[in-house]
Symmetry: C2
Subunit: 497 residues, 2 copies
Amino acid sequence: MAAVAAATRWRLLLVLSAAGLRVTGAPQPPNILLLLMDDMGWGDLGVYGEPSRETPNLDRMAVEGMLFPNFYTANPLCSPSYTPQEIVGGIPDSELLLPELLKEAGYTSKIVGKWHLGHRPQFHPLKHGFDEWFGSPNCHFGPYDNKARPNIPVYRDREMVGRFYEEFPINLKTGEANLTQIYLQEALDFIKRQQAAHRPFFLYWAIDATHAPVYASRPFLGTSQRGRYGDAVREIDDSVGRILHLLRDLSIAENTFVFFTSDNGAALISAPRQGGSNGPFLCGKQTTFEGGMREPAIAWWPGHIPAGQVSHQLGNIMDLFTTSLSLAGLAPPRDRAIDGLDLLPTVLQGRLTDRPIFYYRGNTLMAVTLGQYKAHLWTWTNSWEEFRQGVDFCPGQNVSGVTTHSQEERTKLPLVFHLGRDPGERYPLSIASTEYLDALRWITPVVRQHQEALVPGQPQLNVCNRAVMNWAPPGCEKLGKCLTPPESVPEKCSWPH
Amino acid sequence: MAAVAAATRWRLLLVLSAAGLRVTGAPQPPNILLLLMDDMGWGDLGVYGEPSRETPNLDRMAVEGMLFPNFYTANPLCSPSYTPQEIVGGIPDSELLLPELLKEAGYTSKIVGKWHLGHRPQFHPLKHGFDEWFGSPNCHFGPYDNKARPNIPVYRDREMVGRFYEEFPINLKTGEANLTQIYLQEALDFIKRQQAAHRPFFLYWAIDATHAPVYASRPFLGTSQRGRYGDAVREIDDSVGRILHLLRDLSIAENTFVFFTSDNGAALISAPRQGGSNGPFLCGKQTTFEGGMREPAIAWWPGHIPAGQVSHQLGNIMDLFTTSLSLAGLAPPRDRAIDGLDLLPTVLQGRLTDRPIFYYRGNTLMAVTLGQYKAHLWTWTNSWEEFRQGVDFCPGQNVSGVTTHSQEERTKLPLVFHLGRDPGERYPLSIASTEYLDALRWITPVVRQHQEALVPGQPQLNVCNRAVMNWAPPGCEKLGKCLTPPESVPEKCSWPH
């Protein structure tokens, strides 16, 4: 893949070289706050039709800002390759991330929550432009025995301050964990400090309460009509409300661009107790149907984004890179193509730009949307073998010839859906229809152009070694929590999609 | 069935005897405006998550009033029995309808749109309490040849003023018809006249543009992202906006209670071009899954209903009868049980009342919801025979053991769903769980009580005769449009559900 398409391989990612930057005149550019949810689905917010309507703060955020019903992630998984602890690789130094670029405009940057771009020291966020970190390098799976596998560490900046299920407990039985409250406090403290210092900030708030095992703190447990998953959503909704409230209290709301979205569709394999809702869309996480990649998305910037807007711009999470640079008065580097669109003309003036959305699974371009038409070049949910063992990415849904259990190539005769009439991808257009032919005539050259421009990227996650797991993260000695790694045995590994 | 349950057998229905009425003191009771859609689904409104978000007026109505995410119809069909022209029967005189009762409080009543409670003269709305009628006695199916079968007449009050596909054209090819505009004008004129006369009014606006064959007038054709069905929805949304605007213009908004809902779920057999969306819910029209019976519902009464409310009250369309009487200061009759709840405490003070929702198909009690739990006593979509011929009430959806194609009795061991965690009815509770047992312990006595209180009603629609079709409706002679009926041959007929 090309460096640009490789960007689809990283989490939130914003990965670029420093060439060609330019600082424009604005004396104090706006703060940037990206709220990235984990496995939250399009249908999980009241404003997107969740019947229990338990997200009053996010719904209000939408009413005060701009709602995107057609916003997509770049990959239907948390991390485009699932990255367990034994993976040796991570984000290469040759990639330049958004916080690195934003430094040129004077920003201080913090990540709160899950990093997931490599857990070994050279990959840590503070080596890649962030000034502060509170959170974890991997998912909050566990508990582990600290023998075959260590528990995931939690970092403050360069050093670990404890581990999940130890200093940072998660009660799998009751679902109780205080983590969202801790992440909230980290966000509020950071915002207050930057405001006091009159420094523009970039805060990447990548919390994971809605990723199985889902959790909530005690005041929220049992409060949702939707069970434990809903408790987690309610706590997040409350937290977002508190963050926006603080921005108003500090009188910096009009100087802070806030964007809320999620990393992929709801994990229906964990539903209903540990997974969310993709509303009317087909399937969920891990698939390239709409349920896997269409995301909740809200832009909020009082005084700049007119209230109560809905934009049908086809948006992509990669746009947040370009848009953030634009907010900071920086131009994107010119030495490579950039997939991300600058959404400022969309959010400020309501401009609509024709652009394709590409749906990847691993290196395979599975589908493309242009305008209202989505063409599937491949269909696949998961293997018959997995499916027969009860792994179902599309529970209760079965569209003949669409939700296939073998990888069906359709590049010669794509399956085409009209997403306006048929957002649930249930009625493929007849291949004999004029509409089908017109849609393909429009989409085919766009696919060809994309594929011709593409240069394969370097896989970073295909060497594993149990010796590199989180045995002895920096700072472990202060806590007396260093574990002894096993013998180093590098081996090839693969993470099929 | 008991007389009360028989109410579930009529369209909008409001069917009662006059005993025990009481007029309370209010000098001018509020106007009552019921907007009843035809085959519109829960998921068709932006405020319920329709991704194209093309209903700004209805969404605003919700923001200014109270939204019900848990509101149900009494039957998953337009008319609990489909009533083609050869049906001899209709609404009996022994039933007393809402407009008859409202007369006691000085209301003038009009029906605009589809009646569907019998097309022979003795059943007409003006024989049952309405003062005015503009609309049709049957669905706008056609065109017919006026030989084997006459086209459906359109009435103004007691006389027909033309027929569909003749004086009231519907272009099946383009989808163009001016009917919604005519129905809108009828509503606006009626409201203006009543306001000028200082008379309280009851307007029942039962339009049918979203029932296949769907239609819209020229300015709306091709304007929706959702195709022709969406065009119809947009025209309806615009019309509702105009009606509410007129109420404000005339300064009677604060004295007019408006309720918007639909008669059953979206007709997925007609989707996607001629049918709507049931959002995240299972199946559609004709079934007793949530997609068949959960409806969009908005209450609006500026100055009385606080703005921006969402109520999780389990509501039923039969409540509109009781609530309307309450608004008029009338008490429901005491000589029979009344299923409908007075929703005024809900809309005015936010009160929540525990009550069951019963899901019927024909005479069969298929399912019951109480609180968050829904118990299916029977499951059935349609017969294997129909299904194999391509008739599918649950396209793209298939929940094993739930969307069955034979009538599966579950009364001994009901299938139970938690609708909060699982609004899509995909994950039946384990019958070994405590939760299942607790839910059944709660629901079982409610079902028993309901069934014990039930006295079967008299079927009204099981005699057919082609001689009674709309050959020569009153007024046909003025138009020179009287057709000669065939020989009278009464025969038994049945309308399986």
